[in-house]
């Protein structure tokens, strides 16, 4: 029995990508299905009949049907993904995922999202020119490949933002700024 062939998944060169795309489909499908179930439950709570409407004109009937279709289709994708992931999961290099995410730019993305959250929090609390200047300056300096060399472009960016938004948009065109 020692000479028995290895399981097919191990020798399949596509097992890794398949397992990965399977995992992505599983997560993506499950997330949409979860949202669909949320809508399904909320739609089911809307009364089917009332003095204002019959069952067929109920405000809940259309979202119920749409949520049903969305959830069903998303579950198909999730199930399909689960099957693919199960077939290739043994060959998935879990340890390399963190490095892959870093290569993809997850760290930079997370940092930028954090900056955006900070910027949105400043809106309405600080003058618009001040919050945008801080946002542009910090973003350019921290997301450029060469932070030292990007100081000048960052300052130019701040000047452009002031000219574009405060002078042109607000003063000339009367566009309201947050």
């Amino acid at each position: 029995m020692s000479s028995a062939p290895a399981p097919a998944v191990r020798s399949d060169p596509l097992a890794n990508p398949l397992a990965r795309s399977g995992l992505a489909d599983l997560f993506g499908g499950a997330a949409i299905a979860a949202a669909g179930v949320g809508f399904l439950v909320a739609s089911a709570r809307i009364p089917l009949t009332s003095p204002l409407w019959q069952w067929y004109t109920s405000p809940g009937i259309y979202p119920l049907a749409t949520a049903l279709v969305t959830t069903a289709l998303a579950l198909v994708v999730a199930f399909r993904g689960w099957r693919r992931w199960r077939a290739g999961r043994r060959t998935m290099p879990w340890a390399g995922l963190a490095a892959e995410a870093a290569g993809w730019g997850a760290g930079r993305l997370a940092w930028f999202v954090l900056l955006v959250v900070g910027f949105l929090a400043m809106l309405g609390r600080l003058p618009f020119w001040a919050s945008t200047s801080v946002f542009v300056l910090v973003t350019v300096l921290t997301t450029s490949r060469n932070a030292r060399a990007s100081l000048k472009p960052a300052l130019v960016g701040v000047a452009v933002v002031y000219l574009l938004f405060v002078v042109i948009f607000q003063v000339l065109f009367g566009i309201p700024l947050p």
Binding site: I32, A35, I46, T57, V136, T143, P153
Partner: protein, 506 residues
């Protein structure tokens, strides 16, 4: 063609020269947006819709029409010079445009590109003038049942065509868009749904923040995470129009123009598909197919004429059926609605002059973008060299201002940011954004017509299936589903084993 209507549009436009100025402003802004990789035509139109809100309806539509034409034309710059399409529509332009640059023929490639873009756009606009009154008159026969099926057909076909590898994901995206559109008061009884108690959500998600978020923000996020940096490898000489060279290939122009226009009319499918199909058709019919992909002028002409002709086609269903032909057309539809011009079958009756004006603005934008493209090409190319790390925060701020400007609510800015993350997640998990947005736009129309149709028939669903136009739309919807499922392949597979023994016996 209703000539009076179209001539009236020109008279109206030229009687107010300031509108021509705004068309040119939009055209130039569109060229800049279009040529910057990652900033699509949809992003340009979404941002400008917010920014032009205070200008008033006519000026705003003038800017948007200019930007529509300018961004599709401008996208070729980066495709030809740095091999990165400015908008997805120019992906096919890279195939022959960039090899021409590598051969030291960048100025020639840009000249051919601008000229064939202009001719393609002009062709599409003529088709717009020709088809809008015809389709508009036909659309008057549509009732509530037909509009329900039209919306369904739009979502299904957009889902299938934008996710050819996995149409299921395209359909899910479309249905998810329909579902998100149900948040807030329903259109008939004003019953508040799915708001989670948030007062700001009572009117639902506003369209422009959702559009800016779903289309614009993922591009900003992608540029930041990739730390992109571009280098232009060849010097750009003087760019001249190349009408003689382009007209030598008039068959490709005509064919691509027709392909582009009709793909534009199909709901939810934009100029990227038109460009690829035009390119592929040109390659298959060319006497020198071996040159395609290595710097073929024919390939460049076909791709450019196809994606630009799509602009006119995109606008036809917007004006006549209130169904967008593509994502940028969806923004245009939203802008027209925001400015009080309700597109749809009644527009032909209620605002016929507006159709003529849109047609005239489209043609003026075509001519204006042509001139601007040739005059300012060297200056515009320098924009490509601005570091992305500087550009993207500014684009994000434009998105913030564009979302805020419409109703002055910070809540819309948060919605834009949230849909930006949703858009990025959809991209990464392989769900196309276009059917989601189309579903979001068509959702209220679909729901209201479904419920109204049931109400009119006293709860019977029969009229949805028995009316002739409905039956045609159902058949088209089913056909577009079936052709995207494994069923046709399975049927072909069943036929083959029967043939195999007989052929083996011979």
């Amino acid at each position: 063609m209703n000539v009076d209507l179209l001539v009236g549009g020109f008279v109206s436009l030229f009687s107010r020269p300031e509108l021509i100025f705004w068309v040119l402003v939009g055209g130039q802004a569109g060229i800049i947006f279009g040529m910057m990789p990652g900033l699509t035509t949809t992003t340009a139109l979404s941002l400008l819709t917010g920014l032009t809100f205070k200008l008033g309806p006519e000026r705003a539509i003038a800017v948007l029409m200019g930007a529509f034409v300018g961004s599709v034309t401008g996208g070729s710059r980066s495709a030809i010079l740095i091999n990165i399409p400015g908008t997805p529509a120019q992906a096919a332009v890279c195939l022959d445009g960039y090899p021409l640059t590598r051969q030291g023929r960048a100025a020639e490639a840009l000249g051919v590109s601008v000229t064939s873009s202009t001719i393609g756009t002009f062709f599409g606009m003529i088709m717009l003038g020709l088809f809008t009154p015809i389709l508009g008159s036909f659309a008057l026969r549509f009732g509530t049942w037909e509009f329900f099926w039209l919306a369904t057909f739009g979502v299904v076909i957009a889902g299938g065509l934008t996710a050819p590898a996995d149409p299921l994901k395209g359909w899910i995206a479309g249905f998810f868009g329909l579902l998100v559109a149900t948040v807030g008061q329903d259109g008939i009884h004003a019953y508040v749904r799915f708001t989670g108690g948030l007062f700001d959500l009572r009117a639902g998600f506003a369209l422009i923040p959702v559009l800016i978020g779903a289309y614009g923000i993922p591009e900003v996020l992608n540029a930041i995470r990739r730390q992109e940096h571009f280098v232009i490898e060849a010097a750009v000489g003087r760019v001249l129009p190349r009408f003689r060279e382009v007209f030598q290939h008039w068959r490709h122009i005509l064919r691509s123009g027709i392909i582009g226009t009709f793909i534009g009319i199909v709901p939810g499918v934009g100029s990227d598909l038109a460009s690829w199909i035009s390119y592929d058709t040109a390659k298959r019919t060319s006497r020198k197919p071996e040159e395609f992909g290595k710097g073929s002028v024919e390939g460049l002409i076909a791709a450019e004429a196809g994606d630009n002709a799509c602009i006119g086609g995109d606008i036809v269903p917007v004006l006549t059926l209130a169904i967008p032909g593509s994502a940028p057309a969806a923004v245009l539809l939203a802008a027209l609605t925001i400015h009080g011009l309700q597109p749809g079958p009644l527009m032909v009756l209620q605002h016929p002059a507006a159709i003529g004006e849109v047609f005239a603005m489209g043609l003026v934008a075509t001519a204006g973008v042509f001139v601007l493209s040739l005059l300012l090409v060297r200056q515009m190319v320098k924009i490509l060299l601005i570091p992305r790390a500087v550009l993207m925060p500014i684009v994000f701020i434009i998105a913030v201002v564009g979302s805020y400007a419409l109703s002055g609510r910070l809540f819309d800015v948060y919605v834009m940011a949230a849909f930006g993350l949703i858009g990025l997640a959809m991209q990464e998990f392989g769900y196309p954004v276009a059917p989601f947005v189309l579903g979001f736009i068509l959702g209220p129309m679909m729901e209201d017509n479904l419920r109204r149709g049931l109400e009119l028939a006293g709860g019977s669903a029969l009229p949805f299936f028995t009316r002739p136009i409905s039956a045609v739309l159902i058949a088209l919807t089913l056909l577009s589903i079936i052709t995207r499922t494994p069923l046709p392949a399975w049927l072909r597979g069943r036929r083959r084993p029967r043939l195999a023994p007989s052929s083996a016996a011979r």
